[in-house]
């Protein structure tokens, strides 16, 4: 039996995992990263448009700060987010951008003087100051009061991933590629690492660690139409769920991105609209102002996606044999701008659609894009229920996104959470709590269980096809658990998913090699994906309100009175056909920003009984400190600073602080 011991085992080689690994390694711990694919191929590479940080150098970002970023993020989340975590995030994000700059990310910079921009499709002139010249610039994204998205053309995720991945190499952190974590080693209270399968040789090994960090990304591939990479099957969240102890939170909160190219589902960045692009219908009519007078194309993603589907349902879409779509128009931006700032978009259009967005309209329709839910953690990144298990990035529900995340906040979360959670992992490893006191006999039991599961799959005479079940699940999720949801559809989806799960017990393989074998991989992943899909569909069925990306046609209002709470899913026994759901209340009386209208989307909601009194209390606190600055007011409303590692508590300097 092969056992590898390390201090920190990071599962997942995307931005979040890599950044957490660097943090722990720099604190002197032995760190090892496991990845399905070479780290530079991770899905982080697909983040195009940029990363939100309130660095406020550009004229269109003047006055931006952590407070505005905090308010936008909480509103974007439709008040589902943990406001402490949002505060931790907005204070650290500018530091992350600056650290990445020092490491080599070629952020686009402010150029002094006049430049032409497009706002709402119309040309306008901006004048950038001499003082800002050469500092990091920003572009506009949805749901924000200021321009806040730092970017590297439309290859932001690519540049970030390459830079951080090369830092991993510079820090001599080993990465084992083409391996998959099959289960977590645990005793019901404490996680000790993972049983890992080599995807080339098929060999199993045990990786035993003081701390295990799950950074495996999202689970978009439970849907048929998704912008996600094909590896985003959520196995990290699934094996955490299979411990029966760790909880997954808000799994029903699924984001649909407004502009996936139709019908392939490949993403084109929100930067298209941020830079001035418009959404048009079959009549070439710009319809978003009809629905959203204020933010138009740049409302939050849940709202824009919903309005697009609503507009298609009204018969205004372009009909094709594959279904209906709308148009994204960026022609007004001109070839020079597109070549400089939207070149991946141009390449994608040329290669996959055979069109040139310099002169042609892009066919788009919303597609599954992001999972706000994931492994529920404390602000430290540690699982609330399983000691020694940490999670960060899309795999986690840390919870800074609530029920809808803003564009540019996820790639920001990867590095920021990596920085913060990595420090907490290092702290944990320094204490005696992280001592490894599991016997090799217990480890062998976990190993044996996985080996038996694989052996019995290979020996199975079953008649069900794993790819068929996968496809049926994906179709079901896209058709029944999509943007518009209702009791009947969700009930039907839950029943069908349960049937698929029964059928998955009878999977047989046509290719029986124990080594490199994609059919075998699909066969053991499908039942796990079905569990995740059931958490999503069942959670959505139970949540009888609309919040953020979760929209119930039969319960169209946000209901703070009954549903200002986080869904927690566990799956204690594999005999169960459904997850156990429990709920965690969000405490209005400790919120810095109590629930209200978001500033876009539906205006009607059912108030929380404490919202008005908390609001009055906040007003009182503010009136009692007339001479206080914004930092003092913030601390009086909600204390979060002690949750941040000391090194990230500093105040962020901005251009105006220097010039004053």
């Amino acid at each position: 039996m092969k056992i590898v011991y390390t201090d920190v085992l990071v599962i997942g080689g995307g931005l979040a995992g890599l950044r957490a690994a660097i943090a722990a390694k720099r604190r002197g711990h032995d760190v090892h990263i496991l990845s399905l694919v070479p780290p530079k191929r991770s899905h982080s590479v697909a983040a195009q448009g940029g990363m939100q940080a309130s660095i406020a150098n550009s004229i269109k970002a003047a006055g931006d700060n952590e407070d505005l970023h905090f308010h936008d993020t909480v509103r974007g989340s439709d008040w589902g987010a943990d406001q402490n975590v949002v505060r931790m995030f907005v204070n650290t994000s500018p530091k992350a951008v600056r650290q990445l700059a020092a490491w080599g990310v070629p952020w686009n910079r402010v150029r002094k003087g006049e430049r032409e921009v497009f706002i709402g499709g119309k040309s306008a002139m901006l004048t950038e100051s001499e003082a800002a010249h050469g500092l990091i610039t920003v572009r506009d994204f949805g749901g924000t009061q200021k321009w806040r998205t730092c970017f590297v053309s439309d290859g932001t995720g690519h540049s970030m991933l390459y830079t951080v991945s090369d830092q991993v190499i510079a820090n001599s952190i080993p990465v084992t590629e083409r391996v998959e974590a099959m289960s977590l080693i645990h005793d019901g209270q404490r996680c000790y690492g993972a049983i890992v399968r080599n995807l080339v040789t098929g060999e199993l090994s045990a990786w035993v660690a003081r701390a295990t960090c799950m950074a495996t990304g999202g689970f978009g591939r439970i849907y048929r139409v998704s912008t996600n990479a094909v590896i985003n099957q959520g196995m990290g969240a699934a094996i955490a769920l299979e411990t029966g102890v760790a909880t997954l939170a808000n799994m029903e909160a699924i984001q649909f991105h407004p502009t996936a190219i139709f019908p392939a589902g490949i993403l084109v960045t929100e930067g298209c609209r941020g830079d001035g692009g418009l959404l048009l219908d079959a009549q070439r009519h710009r319809f978003m102002p009809d629905y959203e007078a204020e933010k138009k194309e740049l409302a939050s993603r849940d709202v824009v996606s919903r309005r697009m589907e609503q507009h298609i349902a009204s018969g205004a879409g372009v009909n094709t044999r594959y279904g209906d779509h709308l148009w994204l128009d960026i022609t007004m931006l001109g070839e020079a701008h597109i070549d400089k700032n939207l070149r991946e978009v141009r390449e994608i259009c040329q290669y996959f659609l055979g069109i040139d967005p310099v002169s042609d309209l892009i066919p788009v329709r919303p597609a599954q894009h992001y999972s706000m839910g994931g492994i529920r953690t404390r602000p430290s990144g540690e699982s609330t229920n399983l000691k020694g298990l940490f999670a960060c990035g899309e795999a986690s529900c840390w919870d800074m996104h609530g029920f809808n995340r803003l564009g540019g906040n996820s790639v920001a979360e990867t590095v920021v959470a990596g920085m913060i959670v990595g420090e907490y992992i290092a702290d944990f490893c320094q204490g005696t709590d992280s001592d490894i006191d599991i016997s090799t006999a217990q480890i062998a039991d976990f190993m044996k269980r996985e080996q038996q599961a694989i052996d019995s799959l290979l020996a199975s005479q079953g008649t069900e096809s794993a790819p068929d079940i996968m496809r049926e699940m994906q179709t079901l999720m896209t058709d029944q658990v999509g943007i518009f949801r209702s009791h009947e559809q969700l009930q039907e989806a839950v029943e069908q998913l349960q049937l698929l799960r029964e059928r998955s017990k009878d999977i047989g393989l046509s290719y029986k090699s124990p080594a490199v074998n994609p059919e075998l991989v699909t066969a053991y992943r499908v039942p796990r994906m079905l569990k995740l899909a059931l958490c999503v569909a069942y959670g959505a069925l139970q949540r009888t309100e609309s919040r953020g990306a979760h929209y119930r046609e039969d319960y169209p209002k946000r209901n703070d009175r009954d549903w200002l709470r986080r869904t927690l899913a566990t799956w204690p026994s594999s005999e169960q056909s459904l997850p156990n759901l429990a709920y965690e209340e969000l405490d209005v009386m400790s919120m810095e920003l109590p629930p209200g209208w978001r500033g876009y989307g539906e205006k009607d909601f059912i108030e929380h009984p404490h919202a008005a009194s908390r609001l009055a209390e906040i007003e009182r606190i503010k009136q009692n400190m007339p001479d206080a600055d914004r930092h003092e007011i913030q601390s009086a409303l909600m204390t979060y600073e002690e949750l941040l590692p000391a090194r990230y508590r500093g105040r962020n300097q901005r251009l105006r602080d220097v010039s004053e």
Partner: protein, 250 residues
């Protein structure tokens, strides 16, 4: 759009060999598949894997031409399979794994291992001591320079330049265009404090810039259209000068 009757029957010839499987000798195998609208090789291979032959190995991740996983020889030329449309190819399509890289099985090769070794050898990161105060305003950079650096940073490490390289076929340790382009990228970046004399230590020999025979398959076949020809020529001049200087002073 084609009606069903007009659709082409594609013949996909695949060079197959799985070193993990004793029953899998090197051989050509042919699959037939009906063409669909806007069909890519990603769709073709996924369909074959799911419906015809579960043992066929290949790698896709992003399926959008940005992650560099799916490079293979398509009718003998290195390219990204995911964004190759079948309508641009004939009815007979030949697929083979990228040469030079370690074969995993069939169309899957270990580019990750090769690239990590290259990064370790060339130290492909900014060497600057990393002493910035993260609370302070960031150091400035000219906007044009940031854009120029990104221009070279667009490399996706797909390995097409290595597969297309005459020298790489003959010299196992040859840095290739991917590595030379990285040196060009860091050389441009003031945040990397290495000098030409330092870079010379990494690439100033036959495994580096002087191993290039200027066949320039790399430049012709780079899926990201990186300016490899000009970068290699420029770097060669700079390294030659550095080498001469080093000799005259030493």
């Amino acid at each position: 759009m084609n009606t069903k009757a007009e659709r082409r029957q594609l013949q996909i010839h695949v060079l197959r060999y799985n070193p993990q499987d004793p029953d899998s000798p090197p051989r050509m195998q042919t699959y037939e598949i009906e063409e669909a609208d806007n069909m890519t090789l990603f769709m073709v291979l996924t369909d074959i894997g799911e419906h015809q032959d579960a043992s066929l190995q290949f790698d896709f991740v992003c399926r959008a031409g940005i992650c560099g996983s799916c490079s293979m020889l398509i009718n003998g030329r290195p390219g990204l399979a995911c964004r190759t449309l079948t309508k641009n190819l004939g009815e007979k399509i030949t697929l083979a794994p990228l040469p030079t890289f370690e074969l995993i099985a069939d169309l899957s090769v270990n580019t990750g291992k090769w690239m990590r070794a290259m990064s370790e050898r060339l130290e492909t990161w900014c060497h600057n001591g990393d002493v910035v105060d993260l609370n302070k305003l960031e150091p400035r950079m000219e906007p044009e320079l940031a854009e120029q650096i990104y221009e070279l940073e667009r490399c996706i490490e797909c390995g097409c330049c290595i597969a297309a390289c005459g020298t790489a076929q003959m010299k196992e340790k040859f840095t290739g265009a991917v590595g030379l382009n990285k040196i060009a990228r860091f050389r441009l970046d003031p945040r990397d404090h290495r000098s030409d004399a330092d870079y010379y230590e990494f690439i100033g020999d036959d495994d580096g810039i002087f191993g290039c025979m200027s066949l320039l398959g790399c430049n012709d076949l780079c899926p990201k259209d990186l300016p490899l020809q000009t970068q290699i020529a420029f770097l060669r001049r700079k390294m030659l000068l550095t080498g001469l200087k080093g000799n005259s002073s030493g």
